[in-house]
């Protein structure tokens, strides 16, 4: 039985509290893949927005940036399993993202 903290101390959960707790764990687990995909889309959006200015008429977007942006756009269709999401979201020890797709190319 899971324990719960109250102003009067720590005690075991009641049956109803445990059921609510279990439901919460299930919701989290069931949404795992969609949560990771949302995270990938958020990271992608950050990077696309950071290079949007290169599409202005007075700026020439380098081909390697065009290629990178297209690869970012294609991430959801080219990565469809939770295992692939995990690979994309893997982090280094300093919490930075490990996969090279998240780093803007320089040429």
């Amino acid at each position: 039985m899971t324990t719960i903290a109250t102003p009067n101390g720590i005690r075991e959960m009641t049956a109803q509290e445990q059921a609510n707790y279990d439901a919460r764990q299930k919701r989290w687990a069931d949404a795992s893949a969609s949560r990771k995909l949302a995270r990938i889309k958020f990271l992608r959006k950050e990077r696309l927005e950071a290079t949007d200015y290169m599409a202005n008429s007075d700026v020439t977007m380098p081909d390697y940036i065009k290629t990178w942006r297209q690869t970012l756009r294609d991430l959801p269709q080219n990565n469809t399993t939770e295992s692939q999401y995990d690979t994309l979201l893997e982090q280094n020890a300093d919490d930075s993202l490990k996969h090279s797709i998240w780093t803007q190319p320089t040429e």
Partner: protein, 247 residues
């Protein structure tokens, strides 16, 4: 008329009682500091009905401590746990004594890396009776970006996203709760300001969030609330203050 000097040794100890001292005769020069320092120490916040001596424009009067306590935030409940728990919960901290409440939370730690930190209300004085519909809007600042969104009828109110676990990873913040007992005179609402270590990249996250409860009035009044992690357990310190109603 000649005066007779009574030698000190001629008066028995404690012989002078209150009836022999003239009215208004005890002035400051006859009062020693030991009247205070030698008295028993209270060593606690005085009760509302404890009394203090005061000069009211030159007239000595007694006054209840309640009249001197100017604090407008009154602690009504607190908990502090440094071990992982399924939830941090207050079943019945909201009462008719106060209409609005202020909550301080600190040192919140999630056991599951990347879990969200959530809040929901209890009703009917029971931790098991949880609110299930929550409307809220938030602005969340990550280390390098800002995200915002609206949530309607969510299972709970997510006030920190993807909190990082481990040593030194804490979340802190404050929450106002307005009108939690309301069933007829307006909706329950509130605001949350929070800071934490995010798992979404390096650094900190800050969230500004406003919520209301669409089910206010359909359930009985909200009598308490709960903090939990979206996955796994949580620990931390939470204190609830009632905000003294305007006089």
């Amino acid at each position: 008329m000649s005066k007779t000097t009574i030698p000190k040794g001629g008066i028995t100890a404690d012989a002078i009682d209150a009836t022999l001292i003239a009215d208004n005769a005890i002035s400051e020069e006859h009062l020693d500091a030991t009247a205070i320092t030698a008295s028993t120490e209270l060593a606690a916040t005085p009760a509302d009905t404890d009394e203090i001596l005061i000069s009211d424009a030159g007239t000595l009067k007694r006054i209840d401590f309640s009249h001197l306590d100017a604090s407008k935030f009154k602690q009504v409940a607190t908990l502090n746990v440094t071990s992982d728990q399924g939830a941090l919960t207050f079943a019945s901290c909201f009462t008719s004594t106060y209409k609005n409440y202020f909550v301080v939370f600190s040192d919140l730690k999630v056991a599951t890396n990347g879990a969200d930190v959530n809040m929901l209300f209890h009703y009917g004085d029971s931790n098991g009776n949880d609110s299930t519909n929550h409307n809220y809007s938030f602005l969340r600042r990550y280390p390098s970006t800002t995200a915002g969104a609206n949530e309607g009828n969510a299972n709970d109110i997510k006030f920190l996203q993807a909190q990082k676990s481990g040593a030194g990873r804490f979340a802190h913040g404050t929450m106002y709760v307005f009108n939690p007992l309301s069933t007829t005179d307006g909706i329950t609402a509130g605001t949350i300001l929070s800071n934490g270590n995010t798992n979404d990249g390096t650094g900190a996250q800050m969230t500004v969030l406003s919520f209301n409860m669409p089910e206010s009035g359909s359930n009985s009044a909200y009598t308490g609330f709960q903090f939990s992690a979206s996955s796994g357990d949580i620990q931390g310190q939470i204190t609830v203050y009632g905000i003294v109603n305007p006089s």
